[in-house]
Amino acid sequence: MPIKSYIAFPQANKKTQLIKVLESTTHCEVTPSINKDVLVLVTDTENDQQEEELQRVLDNIEELEHLNLVSGFSDNASIEKRKSNQ
């Protein structure tokens, strides 16, 4: 099930608060930059339901300006591209 990493941008002057919120959010690990208002967020969910729930939680964090998805790993990683084309 998916492990994703993001670059997270806080709202102005909300970096510290955003770190606290994300650290207390299930399935989230945070690595803040030491000199810029940017965090690296890694999420680790067990199934699609958890992933959808987490996305809803992230969407509603006020201190978060936006997230850039960088990578997505899955233990069953395979894009069934040709299947999706049919």
Partner: protein, 773 residues
């Protein structure tokens, strides 16, 4: 002990940190955090990136026999530790569930798994039988700018030296042939004279139809970084469409498709008439010539053209340029005289260092050789060439378009050194290959487009494609797909994944991917890079070079291919190096390539140094040291300033088909998408192709964003969702479609017209109409 899941989390965090570093120069994470993320029982090995022609250095992390992570190589001078989004995720495609691992042979319309031995026996017998029945020119190989140097070399030796046919061409014909023809006609020697370090010296970057922010993102990041840290650095985007590059540039100048020919001539007019020409450089280092005009477009089968150079003088050239006074070309180019004069002033200012960059915009052009010549003219008139920060620089699209297609020479007309029409070049090849001189035919046969036309006509009865997907990438696939389905041609496809090309194959041979084999690539700046095999290929997949060798052995040419399975890549490279012995193209020894993150040829063994700027005696020992510059590709040491006019595109918008169609790529996908669409994060980012429309055109036709529309040409139709005001915006009267999506085949729509000199097709200009689906 780190389990797989923890490892993936650390790799994901490391990727995000590295990506943040590319977006936000100077960003820091606590070193203990970084170390912790990157630690674990992982072994890191260097390689060049699998994807584009920039040739970034990567470090591949392997653990328990699997490739598990990729990061930028900080020791690589190409990318200095940076990578783009494709680079970071490249290894993820290898675990795709539909990976080809066993040979498949079509029997009674169905694919049946066989052993590799059996499949190779079958392919060799079919090839031999075809030659016996129909002659050696009835068989062909079509390879790639993504083939490794050893793969390209054995393909050339097999076809030209052993079998004795020039029926070998490659997909670099579709992307770099105009650059090659441009270099050869102007300088007599292929490939750029400068290197990426030019970025740290130049004041002005003029991008000619080159969306570097998406296609060469790491070089573009270096450029942006320089603009941030140095004074007086400008980026000028000269293009037919507004892109991410335009938005980051200091100035965006939009021109009408095909107008670049007139713009370049107008810049030269302005340089000369403003007194900015470097007369001393021109007199010492250049001569003037003109070639044939009204040279055609190659849309008919068996089209033939040979250019003829005629010397002219400076005054005649000046007279020719009178037709290109900036105000005279405004209507033709869509560019104001003011903007043309501005561009000329940048090139003409002796205090500014200027680099011109281009890629497919100039190369995929029915006058591709001409527009390459014309941009060289600008640099030759001003003497801004072959110096740090000054020079014309054609970027390549594929990772070894230079190293394999151009240097090894996997084109029909080429040999590892020189061309098939040259007796001395054939003699050298025959000597090194240990074949009779008479084996190598002295005439080229089929370039890419004509090769597939020959399949359609039934002239080619056996074709083997390696490392490429022509039934997505060729122009006018609406003709060439049915051609490849005909029973008159036996089709063999070697690939890592199933593709629309393998769908029509009689035999599919599973190939090893990048780090599952050893090899070398050569990038845009003449840098050759080596990598070691890091993991085993799955099932019976094997390196393409070894497949060629096995077929050659089965056809009775074993004596010519005495390489060992374990070490063939090294043995082949050492044999290949013999072709380039000498000061002008010496390749670095293998030991150097193993140790360093590549070396730029000509490599100077006495000093252990790369030659960064060719043709300048200060940097290049191959020059006549009595001259400051020596364009030694030409017998007189002088480059040619070519008189080349504007000529229209073969198909222009009209009442029935009122839009220009331009095609290209997106940052997330590599060419036909066979790898990147199997990488979940990239596929999810851009899951399908689309057609970009100008908002005014969309409004006029009542088309809303995401609504399906038909793109229709005289060749075919495809249906795609509309994209309005999203990633890019074409000019009014133009649409743009990326070509990576095999389910939305835009190349069914494109035209197979090509440059008569380079034979490279034009994917950037044909006429279409748009209808709601």
């Amino acid at each position: 002990m780190m389990n797989r899941r923890n490892f993936l989390k650390k790799a994901a965090a490391a990727s995000a940190m590295a990506a943040a570093a590319t977006m936000i120069p100077g960003i820091l994470f606590a070193s203990d955090q970084v170390d912790e993320k990157l630690s674990g029982n992982i072994s890191w090995t260097k390689a060049p990136c699998r994807f584009c022609g920039v040739g970034c250095g990567i470090l591949v992390g392997t653990q328990n026999g699997k490739a598990v992570a990729v990061k930028g190589d900080p020791n690589s001078s190409v990318n200095k530790g940076l990578l783009c989004v494709k680079g970071y995720h490249q290894i993820m495609c290898t675990s795709s569930a539909d990976r080809l691992t066993k040979p498949l042979v079509k029997k009674n319309g169905k694919y049946v798994e066989t052993s590799m031995e059996e499949a190779l026996d079958f392919v060799a017998s079919k090839m031999k039988e075809t030659i016996e029945k129909h002659g050696k020119d009835s068989v062909a190989m079509y390879t790639s700018g993504q083939s490794t140097i050893p793969e390209g070399y054995v393909a050339s030796k097999f076809m030209k030296g052993a079998i004795g046919t020039n029926n070998l061409d490659c997909n670099a014909r579709l992307c770099m042939a105009s650059a090659v023809a441009g270099f050869l006609t102007t300088f007599g020697a292929d490939e750029p004279m400068g290197c990426y370090e030019d970025i740290e010296h130049a004041n002005v970057f003029v991008l000619w139809g080159n969306n570097m922010a998406e296609m060469h993102p790491v070089l573009f990041s270096r450029m942006l970084d320089n603009r941030l840290t140095r004074k007086n650095v400008k980026i000028i985007d000269l293009a037919t469409r507004t892109t991410r590059t335009s938005k980051a540039a200091d100035k965006s100048i939009l021109f009408t498709p095909q107008g670049d020919l007139a713009i370049a001539n107008a810049i030269c007019y302005e340089i000369i008439n403003s007194g900015w020409a470097n007369q001393s450089f021109i007199e010492k280092h250049t001569v003037f010539s003109k070639g044939k005009t009204n040279i055609g477009y190659g849309t008919e089968d068996k089209f033939a053209f040979k250019d003829q150079a005629e010397p002219i003088d400076f005054e005649q050239y000046k007279t020719f340029l009178e037709d290109y006074r900036p105000d005279k070309v405004e209507a033709l180019t869509g560019v104001s005289a003011k903007d043309i004069k501005y561009l000329a002033s940048l090139y003409g200012d002796p205090n500014l260092k200027v680099v011109s960059y281009w890629c497919m915009g100039m190369n995929q052009h029915t006058r591709g050789t001409w527009i390459n010549n014309l941009v060289y003219n600008i640099h030759l008139l001003t003497g801004k060439i072959s110096q740090p920060g000054n020079g014309p620089f054609s970027l390549t699209g594929q990772p070894s378009a230079c190293g394999t297609a151009r240097e090894v020479g996997t084109f029909t007309h080429k040999l590892p050194k020189g061309v098939v029409t040259n007796k001395e070049n054939r003699e050298l090849a025959a000597k090194i290959w240990k074949v009779p001189y008479e084996n190598i035919p002295d005439k080229p046969t089929y370039h890419a487009t004509e090769m597939f036309r020959a399949v359609d006509r039934g002239d080619i009865k056996f074709i083997w494609t390696q490392v490429t997907n022509p039934l997505v990438s060729l122009p006018k696939t609406s003709r060439y797909r049915p051609a490849m389905e005909k029973e008159s041609c036996f089709v063999v496809v070697s690939d890592v994944f199933p593709t629309p090309t393998s769908d029509v194959a009689d035999v599919i041979l599973p190939a090893a991917w990048h780090v599952e084999k050893s090899g070398m690539y050569g990038n845009s700046e003449r840098r050759t890079q080596y990598w070691d095999q890091m993991v085993e290929a799955p099932g019976e997949a094997m390196p393409d070079a070894w497949m060629t060798i096995e077929i050659a052995k089965r056809m009775g040419y074993g004596d010519l291919f005495p390489y060992s399975k374990e070490n063939h890549h090294e043995e082949i490279y050492n044999e290949y190096r013999q072709f380039h012995v000498g000061k002008k193209h010496n390749m670095a020894p293998l030991e150097v390539l193993k140790k360093e993150s590549g070396a730029i040829w000509p490599y100077i063994e006495e000093t252990g140094k790369s030659t960064q700027w060719r043709f300048n005696s200060k940097y290049d020992p191959a020059c006549n040291q009595e001259k400051e510059f020596d364009f030694y590709g030409k017998p007189n040491g002088k480059a040619i300033i070519w008189q080349r006019p504007y000529e229209p595109a073969p198909e222009m918008p009209d009442n029935e088909y009122p839009f220009w169609l331009n095609t290209g790529r997106v940052i997330e996908h590599w060419h036909t998408g066979s790898m990147t669409r199997r990488i979940p994060v990239l596929h999810q980012a851009v899951p399908n192709a689309y057609v970009e429309l100008h908002p005014d055109d969309a409004k006029q036709m009542g088309i809303r964003n995401k609504e399906n529309v038909k793109v229709i040409s005289r060749r075919g139709t495809t249906v795609l969702p509309a994209s309005i005001n999203e990633r890019g915006m074409p000019t009014k009267g133009q649409v743009f479609v990326p070509f990576f999506d095999e389910s939305m085949m835009i190349n069914d729509v494109t035209l197979d017209a090509f440059c008569p000199i380079s034979k490279e097709p034009d994917y950037k200009k044909c006429a279409v109409r748009i209808e709601k689906a």
